[in-house]
Structure formats: structure tokens, C-alpha cells
């Protein structure tokens, strides 16, 4: 079966992000097993959840002695930004509600930001390719992480990889003065909330800055 050109392009463009995903999920596998998660469970979690911050957050809560409810809540808060991204993406997805919801699972931060065409629509086929490249590396990285040669991702500074990518995407996004203002407001709001709100909430709250669009 021929691979659609946009899917192939998405796969190719997703490679640098997939490499970063691999390192991050490698550290997830190592951290999770060190916290007492059976190796199989860590890999299964990466395969069925595929949302890094939610995985780290929920395992951290369990490892600290928290209950199931707290762990799931922490994951939900971490993922809450995908609510806003999903609302934006929905109109670009064909099919009924369930089919669109399934397609929405391909959203990760970088695939969403880079698939945006700038007019409110998204290149969904490209997004699937981008996300697929990351998914494969995400699961593979976890599988290698659980058998764990101990690599301290933080000590190597590899945890700076993702914010660096996000920064590059951001700088490509803010071509006008008003969009710079939105970015600064979002960053300021998120930083102000970090000390007082549960992790995950600051990023969702920052997206509320876009509500200025309600004014004509």
C-alpha cells in the first residue's frame, strides 16, 4: 500500500522530535522501574497512555504513597491542555464523533503546533505521521529504559531538549507584535501560577490568554 506523501513528510519531520521522545521515555522507563513499577507495566503505560507529563506525574504520585484518585487527577491536570488543542483540531478531522475522538489521540504538543496551517485548520495526515514517529520511539525508549542502563537524563541536560523545541516552534509562531504579547502574557501567567496551582494547571490557564479573541 503506498504511503500518502503528507504522512511520509510528517514521519520525516517528526524524526528530531521522535529522538527527543526516545530520550525522555527512556528516562520514564528508568524512573518508573526505580520507583517500583514492574517493567511490563511501564511499557504498557507508554503504549496506552502516550502522554509523557501525565505518565511521570501519576507515577510520581503513586511512588510518593498517593492513592489512585490523586494519581489519575494529576495525570488529568497535566493533560488538560489537550482539551484546548482538541477544540482547535476537531474541525479539521473527518468522520463521526467517535472517529474524530480516535484521530484526536494523535495530538502531542509538537504535532499539534506544527500541523497548524495558521488559518485555524490542521494538516491531519502530516500530524498522524509526525505523531507516529514519536509514538514508536516513545514505546521503544520506555522498553529500553526499563531494562535500564542507568542514564541520568537530567544530569546530561537532556531534559532541556523539549522546551528548546517548543521555543523554536514559538519563535516561528510569533511573527507579529500582538502575538508576542500573547506569548509573554501566557508565559507570565503560567509562571505566576506555578507556585500556587497543581502542576499542569499553569499551562492550561495560559491558554486562556487566547480568550482575548472573543473581543472583536
Amino acid at each position: 500500500m503506498p504511503v500518502p506523501p503528507r504522512l511520509r513528510q510528517g514521519l520525516r519531520d517528526g524524526v528530531p522530535f521522535a529522538a527527543a521522545s526516545f530520550l525522555l521515555s527512556f528516562s520514564f522507563g528508568a524512573v518508573a522501574t526505580a520507583a517500583g513499577v514492574p517493567p511490563v507495566a511501564a511499557v504498557v503505560m507508554s503504549a496506552v497512555v502516550y502522554a509523557g507529563s501525565a505518565q511521570f506525574a501519576s507515577i510520581a504520585v503513586l511512588a510518593a504513597g498517593g492513592g489512585v484518585g490523586s494519581a489519575v487527577l494529576a495525570a488529568a491536570l497535566m493533560n488538560s491542555r489537550f482539551l484546548a488543542m482538541g477544540v482547535a483540531l476537531g474541525p479539521s478531522l473527518p468522520g463521526g464523533r467517535l472517529r474524530r475522538a480516535v484521530q484526536g489521540q494523535a495530538v502531542v504538543d509538537s504535532s499539534w503546533a506544527m500541523a497548524a496551517r495558521g488559518d485555524g485548520t490542521f494538516d491531519r495526515t502530516w500530524l498522524f505521521g509526525h505523531s507516529l514517529a514519536q509514538y514508536v520511539c516513545w514505546v521503544a525508549g520506555t522498553a529500553l529504559g526499563v531494562v535500564g542502563v542507568g542514564v541520568d537524563v537530567q544530569a546530561l541536560g537532556l531534559d532541556a531538549v523539549f522546551p528548546t523545541f517548543f521555543l523554536a516552534l514559538l519563535l516561528a509562531e510569533v511573527r507579529t507584535r500582538s502575538r508576542v504579547g500573547l506569548a509573554l502574557a501566557g508565559a507570565g501567567l503560567a509562571l505566576a501560577l506555578v507556585p500556587v496551582a497543581p502542576p499542569g494547571v499553569p499551562v492550561l490557564a495560559a491558554s486562556a490568554v487566547a480568550l482575548v479573541g472573543l473581543r472583536r
Binding site: V37, L89, D119, G120, A190, P199, A206, S207, A210
Partner: protein
């Protein structure tokens, strides 16, 4: 670790719902009538207002266009500066700042 598998299952479920909710609620403006009982405005009105091209109500469509800058900026600063509920400048902060200057000056940090 107690209730681990239950947690994995619930986190997967919650993630599915959160990622799927937006697409389930807001479909394309021209989806087939059987699958889009949600369209609040008649299809004929969709093309009239230019801002409605994405199939969202016009005000929401304008909000969506403005989402990326604040979301990405928040991801950058929380990833680079937040450590749990503390703000801390670490090696990653400096790395991200350096990369930012490089990108801003038109140099690339992405392996292309």
C-alpha cells in the same frame, strides 16, 4: 506499588477522553448530517461569516487562532523553570535560553 494496573488503565482512559473530547464536540462544518447533530447554526450560515471557516462558532474560531503562542510559551517556561511547585534556574534554563538566542538570530538548533 498498590493499584498500579488500575492507575494505568484509568490514566489511559482519562487521556483518551481529554484528547478526544474537543474533536468529538467540534467537527467540520460540512460533515454529513447524520453525524453532526451538534451544528448549532444552519450549514448555510457557515460560509457567510469568514471567521467560521473552521467549523467552530465564530468567536471560538478567533480564540483558536490565538492559542498557539500562549500555550507554547507556557510550555517553554514551565519546562525550563518549574520544578514541581518551585521556580528554579538550572542548567536546562540556560540551555533553553541559549537555544532561544540561536533560533532568534536565525541559526538552527534542530538537526535537519
Amino acid at each position: 506499588m498498590r493499584h498500579l494496573w488500575l492507575t494505568v488503565a484509568l490514566v489511559a482512559l482519562v487521556t483518551f477522553v481529554i484528547k478526544g473530547l474537543g474533536p468529538a464536540l467540534f467537527g467540520p462544518p460540512t460533515s454529513s448530517p447524520s453525524s453532526s447533530p451538534e451544528s448549532a447554526s444552519p450549514p448555510s450560515a457557515a460560509g457567510v461569516d469568514g471567521a467560521d471557516r473552521a467549523g467552530l462558532p465564530a468567536p471560538l474560531a478567533r480564540v483558536v487562532l490565538l492559542l498557539a503562542p500562549p500555550l507554547l510559551a507556557a510550555l517553554v517556561v514551565t519546562n525550563a523553570l518549574a520544578d514541581g511547585d518551585r521556580l528554579a534556574v538550572g542548567a536546562d534554563t540556560l540551555g533553553v535560553a541559549t537555544a532561544g538566542v540561536l533560533v532568534w538570530r536565525g541559526l538552527t538548533v534542530l538537526p535537519a
